[in-house]
Symmetry: C2
């Protein structure tokens, strides 16, 4: 899909293709459809980022709370979204041994207990070891700083998802 | 579930039970979890309403765009959410004859073309005839007034969905 095709989409088509660029938050892409026409993919990304940043802290937390745990229950039970399945797979979360799974469970639980939202990181940009390192590190952050950090990760994930929708080989499948 | 049980839920439990009180917008209930403890169900409702009203117009439009058409494609193909299936059924949308279906299709299309979001009405509070009447009438509204009206319908739907979660006979099933 090129940007002209994106701009020609009805809101229904736009939500169909872009509804999960922010995990389980079709509201966000549905909202930015109001800002079309877009100059390019970066322009969509900027509108999404602006929208998220305009939300009160509770709204940002709400976005994070729509994300699954890394190597968590949804992965075990096969109920991750297609995008998350791919991303967690690429980061090695599907091939953890039992000690690694236990470590992730323990760290995720501690993180959720401390912040009231799940640990979110752009899995495609990080190895398994790096994810564990960052999770341990970010557990020590102050709440406000961690919220901002986590939202930055959401926008990185969003950017990669947006760019995967406009790949030429994906265009032919649509 | 009583309000103490609601207040004891983790964000994951809260999103599990309340994630669809605003259609396909788990972000909204996930956001209001930040405001717990709640005094009662009306208090949850008020926080949801405040959150929605704090959104820019694009965000309100985004919420509406996550809603299915009444008697539309999702109903035909069985891809409505559980809540919408019940609500559209109660309003007689599942038993339209072909002339009625065509009329709904035509009016829905005209409405979406005019406003850029779908016609949303609290189906449980309206008969089939009343829905057609209101759709025809609201088509003539100014855009800003219609956006407000549609959002009021979202909060009515939300209120009924919230109240259905706390029914005693549902509590025992959870």
């Amino acid at each position: 899909m090129d940007i002209n095709q994106v701009n020609a989409l009805t809101y229904e088509g736009f939500v169909h293709f872009f509804g999960n660029v922010v995990e389980k938050c079709p509201l966000v892409s549905a909202a930015v459809w109001s800002s079309r026409p877009f100059k390019d993919i970066s322009d969509i990304e900027a509108h999404i980022s602006d929208f998220i940043n305009s939300l009160p802290d509770s709204g940002k937390e709400g976005i994070l709370r729509c994300h699954p745990d890394l190597a968590g229950r949804d992965l075990q039970s096969g109920t991750l979204t297609r995008e998350s399945t791919e991303e967690q797979g690429q980061a090695g979360m599907t091939t953890l041994d039992s000690a690694e799974r236990l470590l992730m469970y323990r760290l995720n639980s501690e993180y959720k207990e401390r912040f009231g939202f799940p640990f979110v990181i752009c899995a495609r940009l990080n190895s398994k070891a790096e994810i564990v390192r960052q999770l341990s590190q970010r557990l020590k952050n102050e709440r406000a700083a961690e919220l901002e950090h986590a939202i930055q990760e959401v926008t990185k994930i969003c950017s990669l998802r947006l760019n995967s929708i406009v790949l030429p080989d994906i265009q032919t499948k649509l």
